[in-house]
């Protein structure tokens, strides 16, 4: 059973993620994806997202969709840990936003993940 304390800390302001994603022409999302893959894998307790796939998904469209799909699937586990059961399966929203504006998907995901660290 995964505990909150097992999850590596990757806390950012969602707005910062959005702004850096745009300002760096998507380069920040490469870094962000690697770190987020580590968080998601820790939350689910399984190596669901390979860090290399996460890196490539920071810039490559079809892989990007797959990355956000996996993150969306893991939102149920994020919600369970942060005490928000209603979070489960928002993968469709993340995938659709990830196709058009990946930095917005990243921003939403960061907002949910940040709640894991409340009180730490």
């Amino acid at each position: 059973m995964v505990q909150r304390s097992d999850v590596p800390v990757f806390r950012n302001s969602p707005i910062t993620v959005l702004i850096l994603g745009v300002v760096t022409c998507g380069l920040y999302l490469i870094y962000w994806n690697i770190k987020m893959a580590g968080v998601i894998n820790a939350v689910t307790g399984r190596p669901d997202i390979s860090p290399t796939v996460a890196t490539v998904s920071g810039c490559c469209m079809p892989v990007n969709v797959y990355f956000y799909y996996l993150c969306g699937q893991a939102l149920g586990d994020v919600g369970r840990l942060s005490g928000e059961p209603g979070l489960a399966d928002k993968s469709t929203l993340l995938v659709i936003l990830g196709i058009f504006v990946p930095m917005v998907s990243a921003m939403i995901l960061q907002g949910h993940v940040n709640r894991l660290y409340d009180g730490r």
Binding site: I30, I34, P47, S50, T52, M61
Partner: protein
Amino acid sequence: MSTGSTMDASRPGSAASLRGFVWARVLVACSATGMLIASYAYAPFVDAGPVLCPMHGLIGLPCPSCGLTRAFCRLVRLDLWGALSYHALSVPLFAVCLVAPVVCVYEVGRRRESWCSSILHSSRTAWAVAILLTVHHAVRLGVWAADGTLVNGYVKTSWTYALLRVVGIISS
């Protein structure tokens, strides 16, 4: 080639584990093959095609993968130099797309992961790819800013720029 499940499918376990293992590889094999077929089919139209990248379209700036579609369309026609001129990292990525289905079939046949999976799940590989992408993109942005491609090839071909022209905010 690993994506979702990384377990040893030969281990006595649930049928669901094996199903996940197989499906992940079927998905990767189909995606890689589909990308190659789509590149071949789209190649005749790629130069006159629309802007597909949302970052290019909305903001007018290239993302790190801008040029990959055109490069892949060149590579399926065996135009290596043309592909490199659009995206230098298209060649190794294309090689991965060629190898991935073979590795997937091999892994499904063996019911266990190959050494390719350990490479994909290595943090070192991930950071190496990230640094490579970052350096490539930063150099490319610098060159394009200097020779005017950034403005003429990206800003002026973005959806936002076209919209502003239609509305009349920008005259040329």
